[in-house]
């Protein structure tokens, strides 16, 4: 479930989200890229809540997929690292395209 739809929120909230979603996505990318592998589950957990609440739907889906992979007890550190890197690439693409 994504938190925000245009039909639901007040103009004030929508204006705030529109202004902040770019910086929020950029900050999320930085956090994800810089996190130690062991911290990735916590970081993705946190970003999952943030990105969805700002209506960054596509970015939220990438993070949700990464979180699901990290939740697998059998995933290796190398697999986690590779998944993180590909997620960062996708999020950067979204940011460069102007959002999600």
């Amino acid at each position: 479930m994504i938190g925000v739809t245009d039909a639901d929120e007040s103009d004030e909230v929508l204006a705030f989200i529109a202004e902040r979603r770019g910086p929020v996505l950029r900050a999320a990318i930085d956090d994800l890229a810089a996190a130690p592998v062991d911290d990735l589950p916590d970081v993705t957990h946190r970003l999952h809540g943030i990105l969805g609440s700002y209506g960054l739907d596509e970015a939220h889906e990438y993070i949700a997929a990464l979180a699901e992979l990290l939740a697998d007890a059998d995933v290796s550190a190398a697999q986690a690292q590779a998944a993180r890197e590909s997620t960062v690439v996708e999020l950067r693409r979204l940011a460069d395209e102007g959002g999600a």
């Binding site: 938190g3 925000v4 639901d8 809540g49 969805g52 609440s53 939220h60």
Partner: protein, 226 residues
């Protein structure tokens, strides 16, 4: 003066978004970025309601809730990304009144805040303030519950559920009636009534009281004590 809400969340983006939505709805907002800071802010500002993230760092939201419950009856709404049932139950067990899952809609959070605060106001303005049934006494003015003269500590939700049943012990309270009476507007799983009823029943029996909240199959609950 407008009502105040304390937002405790370690994610600045979440605090900012909630603050904009709540201020837009006329509430005063205080923010805290950790459990200890939240407890300190509670004592400094005495907010009317608390929005509390479960996934805080060194002191998690459940522990913060327990500590706040020791000194406050202000409604607490949990913010959680862990939406599975066990976490919900643990959340309520810690003394929360409601929960919102992340990602959230700011509008829904504001609606939940308004609903809980209206509930609080209704409780404060009821004419009759003391109800008795068997060994149980509730006083809605002091918001105290006595069992054979000894106080039992109930959460706000448990207290309101008990009061709804004790106002007329013979009446059957339907799920809809209790949702409207205790939660006001409810957007989540309606089985929330069972969760809180079970906790209320367990608290009363653990304190040596009668088994309350008799199930009237297919209809609702009756106090079960006359």
């Amino acid at each position: 003066m407008s009502e105040s809400v304390l937002v405790i969340d370690d994610a600045a983006e979440v605090r900012e978004l909630l603050s904009v939505a709540l201020r837009g709805a006329g509430y005063r907002v205080v923010e805290a970025d950790s459990g200890p800071a939240g407890i300190e802010a509670y004592h400094a500002h005495q907010p009317d309601l608390i929005l509390l993230d479960i996934g805080l760092g060194s002191m998690d939201g459940l522990e913060v809730c327990r500590q706040l419950r020791a000194v406050s009856s202000a409604p607490i709404i949990f913010l959680t990304s862990r939406a599975d049932e066990v976490d919900e139950l643990v959340g309520f067990a810690a003394g929360g009144d409601d929960y919102v899952t992340k990602p959230f809609s700011p509008k829904v959070v504001v609606a939940r805040v308004g609903s809980l605060l209206r509930r609080q106001q209704r409780a404060a303005t009821d004419d009759r303030t003391r109800f008795e049934a068997g060994p149980l006494v509730v006083d809605t003015e002091s918001r105290t519950t006595l069992l054979d003269g000894s106080a039992i500590h109930l959460t706000r939700t448990e207290f309101d559920l008990l009061t709804a049943m004790m106002e007329n012990p013979e009446r059957v309270c339907t799920r809809e009636m209790l949702l409207e009476r205790v939660w006001g507007e409810w957007f989540g799983d309606t089985h929330v009534v069972e969760v809180h009823m079970s906790r209320l029943r367990n608290k009363v029996t653990a304190a040596g009281g009668p088994k309350i909240g008799t199930v009237v199959r297919g209809v609702g609950w009756r106090l079960g004590v006359s």
